[in-house]
């Protein structure tokens, strides 16, 4: 049982990963699947879209994305938007921030996971997609998992 420093009142449960899983036939490299194996296990993107905008921040890495890293990506995405574009998506960006905060306390988010934050009548939106692995876990948990895998 681990305690996330950002929210010490809530204990965390371990993320569902099996670092000791054995390779299967499907995971043995072949010319066909070699390129796919080079893909990073933990991948995803956050996007600001609609109203003629298409701004995106991606991640692709060997270890799960921490919530802090997720917040940094969100800040980078915000920095790509004009003041008007940020204002149009103010509530949506806040919802994504809240999602990251909650995910940090509840074992992150596992792929495949998608959400689109938008108003009911508009295509102006903010998207989050976890395409592979896990995202938005507590940094302490990420360090422990990384140590176990090594």
């Amino acid at each position: 049982m681990y305690i996330c420093p950002s929210n010490p009142k809530k204990p965390l449960r371990a993320v569902e990963t099996d670092p000791f899983s054995k390779p299967t036939l499907a995971t043995i490299p072949s010319p066909k699947n070699f390129l796919q194996m080079q893909r990073k296990e933990h991948r995803g993107r956050i996007q600001a879209q609609g109203g003629g905008l298409e701004a995106s921040e991606n991640w692709a890495q060997d270890e799960p994305l921490t919530a802090d890293e997720g917040r940094s990506l969100l800040q980078r995405l915000k920095a790509k938007l004009s003041r008007k574009e940020r204002k149009q998506r103010k509530h949506h960006l806040k919802k994504l921030e809240d999602l990251i905060d909650r995910a940090e306390d509840t074992g992150g988010l596992h792929a495949h996971f998608s959400k689109s934050f938008q108003d009911d009548e508009s295509d102006v939106r903010v998207d989050i997609e976890v395409l592979g692995g896990t995202a938005f876990i507590c940094a302490v948990l990420a360090i422990i998992l990384w140590a176990v895998i090594q």
Binding site: E16, R39, N58, G107, S116
Partner: protein, 138 residues
């Protein structure tokens, strides 16, 4: 504005389950017309299994026969009907690309009919699925 279906789905857990079952039944009967199989491709939940009952999405399904998917977002009641949809190019964990139709609506009798029409067009009338390029940076 026509009759809003399951207006309290975000406040009442029972209503939420009823709304989920409604979409499941609607999609199931639609896919039975073509004998297509389908399965959910994401769980709207946190890593520890805590469900996220926000209607975003309220339903999702992948149809192997078409290589296409749908994600339906249901919003709480508002003074006006609302129905929009878009296509999103995404990928599986192994990098295989696929496209999902995202439907975002306030569920009324009118928008239900629009959703059915959009689902029919997406899964039945488009011929071969569009080629989707892998996502950059992954």
């Amino acid at each position: 504005m026509t009759n809003i279906l399951y207006p309290r789905f975000l406040e009442d857990q029972q209503d939420y389950e009823t709304a989920v079952n409604y979409w499941t039944g609607l999609f199931k009967s639609l896919m039975e017309e073509k004998s297509y199989s389908w399965q959910p491709y994401m769980k709207n939940q946190f890593g520890d299994g805590t469900p996220i009952r926000d209607g975003n999405p309220i339903f999702n399904a992948f149809v192997p026969e078409t290589g296409r998917a749908v994600r339906i977002i249901q919003h709480p009641p508002a003074p006006k009907d609302s129905f929009i949809h878009w296509k999103n190019s995404t990928e599986w964990a192994d990098g295989t690309p696929f496209t999902e139709l995202v439907i975002s609506l306030i569920l009324t009798e009118t928008t239900e009919a629009k959703a059915k029409a959009a689902l029919r067009e997406w899964f039945f009338d488009q011929g071969e699925p569009e080629k989707v390029e892998p996502i950059q940076g992954s």
